[in-house]
């Protein structure tokens, strides 16, 4: 599919709109992805943080990567150009998908669509000139892959004017949907612990209910053998998950960090202290 006419059309529309409304969205098309910088808020208010996001719409079959891309690939990176006093927070990574391409290779990333949200901290004081209109710019770099991989980049911009903070009805649903995909802290009373065995980690999740399905995504590369099947044994209160160690793991680790995705349910941040085997 050729996105170029759409890109030009949207850019023109956006530039015209920007002359008299709040937002300027520059949409860039690159091969296999359409990428835009969007904002949850329509306006800028001193001291109020903003939620911006880089929205990837991918051609069918193509994917981008999670913070830990797995066995191949590279996560997107963003370089912000912000007005003085503004600062960008960390990328809020939605829960990833497992993508296995061969016996040796499993990657972690996103198909179809992904909104990578980034909180922007606004200063308490914004001068009059800035209040008339403030430009947010980001240089986005990403790798898009199907069977082959293509490194891409785009310079994206957004213009916000001052006013009472209001949600942008056009993007609110995208942000709300992305919010639902963010991993959350484990519920109160749940506990994650890991035991280091010769070839495996045994990850024990103590929960208030039985967990019959769960997939673990390691945050650090080189700890878990990504393509190895994870075996889950449901317990009365939680589950025990066996994770094969990576060949690259030569030293003991003290903590196993990652995301536990409950299919059809939430995704939890896991930080499991690792017990070493008793010699």
């Amino acid at each position: 599919m050729d996105w170029k006419p759409l890109q030009r059309g949207l850019q023109c529309v956006c530039f015209v709109l920007a002359a008299w409304t709040a937002g300027l969205i520059v949409v860039q098309s690159a091969p296999h992805a359409r990428v835009e910088l969007i904002s949850l808020q329509t306006t800028l208010h001193p001291g109020s943080d903003l939620q911006l996001g880089i929205h990837f719409i991918l051609e069918p079959g193509w994917h981008i990567y999670w913070i830990n891309p797995g066995d191949s690939g590279q996560p997107p990176s963003f370089k912000w150009q912000l007005a003085p006093g503004f600062s960008a927070g960390e990328i809020q990574w939605p829960r990833p998908e497992r993508m296995q391409s061969s016996a040796e290779l499993t990657d972690y990333g996103y198909h179809d669509e992904a909104l990578l949200m980034v909180p922007i901290h606004a200063p308490q004081f914004i001068n009059n000139e800035q209040l008339r209109g403030l430009r947010f710019a980001v240089e986005a770099k990403w790798l898009v892959c199907r069977e082959v991989c293509i490194p891409e980049h785009a310079n994206l911009e957004l213009l916000l004017h001052s006013g009472a903070i209001k949600e942008n009805s056009a993007t609110a649903k995208l942000f709300a949907d992305a919010e639902k995909l963010l991993p959350i802290a484990m519920p109160q009373g749940w506990k994650a612990e890991a035991e280091s065995r010769k070839e495996h980690f045994l990850l024990t999740i103590a929960a208030n209910r039985q967990l019959t399905k769960a997939v673990f995504f390691p945050l650090e590369p080189g700890q878990i053998d990504n393509p190895a099947p994870q075996t889950l044994q449901a317990t009365t209160h939680g589950a025990k998950i066996t994770l094969k160690k990576s060949d690259l793991l030569l030293k003991p680790i003290t903590v196993l960090r990652g995301v536990l995705v409950i299919p059809g349910g939430p995704a939890y941040w896991i930080e499991a202290p690792v017990r070493q085997p008793i010699q």
Partner: protein, 203 residues
């Protein structure tokens, strides 16, 4: 009595087990192999006992491989280390019809065009050598010491990007490991996460 189908499945399972048992682990004997190079010559790992051997997984169409060839970085490493007696084996595991698959003569032309100087290029379109070492990316680098022990498994350097401009600020893990080993020291970083395109296996 088991049907032939069961036996085939059993044989497959056994082969998979054998393959996993021989996976390349740092500190353990590197799996032995015989492969045909781009000049039609048989290359055996055992032929190089007593020498350091570098294995470099390669795909000339991959942006991460291109980073290190268009910049001349890989050729520089090949030149430097083969001059010091290291055996450098480039391996191509791209299956026919996938990115990076080349015929032996295409590969020899490519070597001339980019001035690459590996000791040999091993043609592995069936992927058996790739599977034996569990090669994941292009590039993915392995170093085997003169005793046949694997002493490095991982990335070429510490900047997992496809930008050539990053090379100048990168720590090259392969050079560091070869240098330390040559000085009789243990390799400080013997295992790192390889980065690049996935190896284009046939299955």
């Amino acid at each position: 009595m088991k049907s032939p189908r069961h036996l085939i499945l059993l044989a497959c399972a056994l082969l998979a087990l054998i393959a996993s048992a021989f996976a390349a682990k740092v500190g353990e004997p590197a799996p032995g192999f015989t492969a045909v190079d781009s000049n039609g010559k048989q290359q055996r790992l055992s032929d190089y006992k007593g020498k350091y051997v570098v294995l470099e997984w390669h795909n000339q169409g991959c942006p991460y491989t291109k980073k290190h060839y268009a910049s001349g970085n890989m050729q520089r490493l090949q030149k430097e280390w083969t001059a010091k007696g290291v055996v450098w084996l480039t391996v191509i595991s791209s299956a026919p019809g996938t990115q990076g698959f080349v015929t032996p003569s295409q590969e020899n032309d490519y070597l001339k065009t980019v001035n690459a100087v590996p000791t040999a290029v091993l043609m592995d379109p069936g992927g058996s050598l790739g599977h034996l070492y569990a090669a994941k990316t292009t590039p993915h680098m392995f170093i085997i010491d003169p005793n046949g022990t694997l002493i490095y498994n991982g990335a070429i350097d510490d900047h997992p990007t496809s930008d050539q401009s990053d090379i100048a600020n990168s720590k090259n893990y392969v050079s560091a490991a070869l240098q330390e080993a040559a000085n009789g020291k243990p390799v400080t970083e013997p295992a790192t996460r390889p980065y690049g395109c996935s190896v284009k296996y046939k299955d």
